[in-house]
Symmetry: D2
Subunit: 375 residues, 4 copies
């Protein structure tokens, strides 16, 4: 009795010949000495054709290498009104890199890695959520500790221990933060009121000194913290703006809220319109634009939206755990951003489906920190 033909025909369908440009799946070659205690760059190369997220991770590193190595013309060859965007120390055009991260990454040990990138001018602008700003400052005042995802909330609250995933932040840290920030807010308000008096009817005009914005306040806080372990400090030093339109959504907001009572009837004002002009202008000025987005939510959308202003980023790397099936921007694949003009149709883009702390150390070790900086 022979095979049932309907099943055999379905199971044993013949393939078309495999096209020449097909790439075979492959893994680590353990005959090589370099396959043992592998280096970051060897790992990343070996993952290139491994499939699934290994390939995506490897591709993310290639895109990062491309965006950081792109080099345009020299500034002097450009007409004056075109001398905009990012240039290296020698005057050549470079990719303007927008990096976004969520608050929790600063709470985690990734902060050192993010700080490294800012300290060494590996990125051009940052978009952070409020916690991503304040936790960086607070860590200069007191540490965050290892905890556990399952510690019950009631017991922690009773002890004044705040949980962030498997991390713990003593509430005293926020008390210390208040002590530190209130005098600075006082000073900022004073400057606002002085400028208002001085500028009168021009006080709300474009570039007015009477108008604080999130990015201006963040730079000021970076200056004031004056601590080399801080992302904000290096962003201030290296003139890398940190955008955070919802800066009030966290501990700084709590402090600003309290400050409105202390300062009454005066009030510090934080304008978000000037900042949208600032980030959008950076996007328009960029010769090439790259995105490196760690996490989802506002920080992801904000960078993408800014890149729409130049009809799309040239490079995009998303790293997050969001899924597209809920229709959220957080979970949207790069290709959704292509439909909006936020990423160019011919851009290099990839999403790595991973929690950032799991992959960013490896990514940075294989790309931005492949070699020790000379400075």
């Amino acid at each position: 009795m022979s095979k049932p033909s309907i099943a055999a025909d379905a199971v044993l369908v013949k393939s078309e010949p495999v096209p020449d440009d097909f790439v075979e799946v492959s893994g680590i070659d353990y005959t090589k000495d370099s396959a043992y205690n592998m280096s970051a760059s060897d790992l990343i190369s070996s993952m290139r054709n491994m499939g699934f997220q290994a390939s995506a991770l490897s591709q993310a590193c290639s895109i990062i290498d491309e965006m950081t190595s792109w080099k345009g013309v020299h500034r002097d060859t450009l007409e004056e009104h075109k001398q905009k965007g990012t240039f290296d120390d020698e005057g050549y055009q470079r990719t303007t890199i927008f990096m976004g991260f969520t608050s929790n990454l600063i709470s985690s040990g990734l902060r050192d890695t993010l700080r490294y990138l800012v300290q060494h001018k590996k990125v051009s602008a940052i978009v952070a959520s409020a916690g991503g700003v304040e936790e960086d400052l607070i860590k200069c005042l007191a540490p965050t500790y290892m905890g556990d995802f399952t510690l019950p909330g009631k017991g922690l609250r009773d002890k004044g221990m705040n949980r962030i995933g498997n991390l713990l932040v003593p509430n005293d840290n926020y008390c210390k933060f208040e002590e530190w920030i209130v005098p600075i807010l006082d000073k900022c308000l004073e400057e606002q009121q002085e400028a208002l008096q001085k500028l009168g009817n021009d006080a709300l005009d474009y570039n007015s000194d009477a108008c604080w914005t999130p990015s201006k306040l963040i730079a000021r806080l970076g200056k004031e913290i004056n601590d080399e372990s801080s992302v904000l400090y290096w962003a201030y030093k290296n003139d890398i703006p940190i955008f955070c339109p919802a800066l009030t959504d966290g501990s700084i907001g709590d402090m600003l809220f309290f400050h409105t009572f202390k300062a009454s009837p005066h009030q510090l004002r934080l304008d978000i319109v000037a900042d949208i002009r600032r980030i959008n202008s950076m996007s328009m000025d960029a010769s090439q634009a790259g995105m490196l987005i760690l996490g989802g939510g506002l920080i992801k959308h904000h960078i993408c939206n800014a890149c729409l202003m130049r009809n799309g980023a040239d490079y995009a790397v998303y790293i997050n755990t969001g899924q597209e099936y809920d229709g959220s921007d957080a979970g949207a694949r790069p290709d959704e951003a292509v439909s909006w003009g936020k990423i160019k149709a011919d851009a290099k883009s990839i999403k790595v489906y991973a929690e950032a702390s799991l992959v960013l150390p490896l990514i940075v070790a294989a790309t931005f920190a492949k070699e020790r900086p000379s400075n």
Copy 2:
């Protein structure tokens, strides 16, 4: 030959007696007529002890029922400085309900459900992301369409079709939006400048008319749109504030950005400090506070943070697809918020792990819209 004792001992461990208060898992009783084409409330009751997310969904409905049915004392029995928070039409204290939703829910057909809740004053305040504000307005100008998660981005961009998950928004909708909003922004700027002139050195003070905030602008847009299908319209009519600290993060931001050029050297300013005072004050004033949070990111954190100002919400329902393992606030369980004092230790709280469109229609049908409103 007998059973191997090590295995038998492990497999056949004796249980302690089942405590009296244990509840048996149970499902739908198909001997009942009501088990066919079930009603929302029958479905929800039947899911009570089904386990997994069915139980969570049922519990979410119970919590909603509790938060909406809580009734305190009459306003007249309160000292004057305590006559704050939410009262019903008859003057009794009610739960102040903070509802949060992400942009995509307004893009989806859930907008009608969200609008229903606002129209009938089922909630007290809203926190939305920028898209959750502008897409509501844009839908008054032109429709959103059904699409597919897999439509390639390049082809869509070529046709001017923007994809949001499995939805499509023609880019013309945003052009129409620009036409509609620019005259309003002109007017708002005019009012700002008039107030600035009038108030002089007091122009930035608390409650100054020279200072637009996201919530004030959103209320104005709700008034201007004047359309009964709109969430913003009903929020304006019913004096339900819509908070959106990062209001510039989307199409309104694009329009404000363009407007800075049109209006130069003047500039409309949107202050986020006054709004943090406003939402935090609502939280402090609330007799009881409830959260209904659909989605993650900023909108979730913002409501939780506001509820910290009163040492925790009394009721909390989270509906989202986020996971806690990445340490994001988006994925955090209610118990993490307990550690921060954002939810009370003895509050009723639940997280439903679900995409909102899948469950909100059922939830609302079994709770807020169990009965037709008389008005």
Copy 3:
């Protein structure tokens, strides 16, 4: 000063005219009386064009309606060798529906819903994981209880309480199960040995009585349990095979393991080759084939693989929480199965990204149990 043209051009791209067949996103119409305490079928209709997973859920119901209402020709009009597959009581061809579910669904209150489908012959064959078989039997002996996802494991083990998500099963239930099943296994072994003696060299031939298979043993257990609350009982009564190739992977496996010592040197044998022939034959014989797969892993792949034997299912509904980015079959979209010939290219198929207990009660209420069965 005018808008920057590069940004304006990107933001205000013109759309092509919206095609006539585009469908507007829409939601619930709260002007209708039926929008209050909605019925399952009204909810499902209203979700049709809501977007995201609401649409997917609604589509799943449509596909179920189509697969259950398909009606072919009468048996008598067919040549004898074509009189195969599924027929209704009147003799007309019907869709052969393969339903798969994971163990946990039987542990949950969904068991009643699954039992309803089997009792009323709504499905033609079942694929379950081992727990999906034994937990159905065990529930006839003692109940499962509601628990909590966060109950610590050590304390539970000390009390002999086994946790399944937010459910608890006293270990005594498994002791009771042992008492119940051992005499049956004894009898099955006896029958095996008798047949072996009788059949001699033919004992391992096709359809030999000496060869138990998982599906044969499961049917026997369904007969023995003789309990109308049981899925297995009704499957036995209605001649609906339950396939479970890895039947040893759970408590039945523990019991079979113990039994090998008790019965030594004899051993009950469970052959999986005869079952793959049986399920594949059902697929080949089907006039139309439909899949309803609740959960992932083996049960999903097994049904898909069987449908390859007929060059693809005609209808497919997946309900699970798996994601495709890990390259697992569990998370694969229906379109991956199309590439393999497991689903026809022109089949109706959908994946609903949801935990099954959250949506199955609603789905069944709006489809299989829209009307009370007459019998």
Copy 4:
């Protein structure tokens, strides 16, 4: 005006003093030369106190190090009936390591890594899904290729290209597999029938040669493939059993199905009872037991269930993308297995929430392959 006291009291709660054993969150120290192009082991150490999944990954490596370095007493010091379990070449007791993986990992480039572990006897037993067996063999016949998650299924089917996530397998590979396996199945059947004739009434007894089991057939296939790139080959050579109770659930099942027609009335039989005895016995015999489980579903449950036979594993590392909220075993945390007695209460256990290809190369490089094997 002072701060509102209710808010200030809530926000500025004092903490209890931080306990001495609290560990500070920390990251990579970029002042060190080793922070550049980091080695696997330096990466893993640096991630130890980073938080989130970085910590989990680091902990997974520690657990693997512990389970592989555990060394018990010498075989000669044990009574004869206790000389069971795993011993190293020098005769000392070692941890019996059960490794599980799903089919897709063999399809991916991880196969080389899995093969490395088997070749160098790093694990003691394997549980795989059917695809994890057959794809290893098929890759010896023809390669798998890189593809893309979004390639449409219809076009692929037309070309005979099967998609597995972002991988492609030409259907010809399965045709080649059929050619290879059919003669082997013929031979296996022949051996079965010979044994049946010879053994007569004892043919189904414990350890009968007339009874093939999945693990026996897999070992035979490993011998026949005789290819050093194969996991099965090395498992055969090193006497490492590969368990796969549902071996019929894939291409081997298709071939066995076809073979029932070819061989009719004879039929090859695969008994799963003998294999449950075999794996459970390994668990009971183990001096210490460790689990390394890559992926979810059957392979995860099967190893855990086997470890119940010894009242729990001593070490457990789960790597998968499943979530617990759906109550699936796939997504269950190790602590759920503790409640069942599948993991000891005092065991070292961790779950890494990650797609395996993303982390296994790094894990193996920092643990099993930290040093080049001498042989």
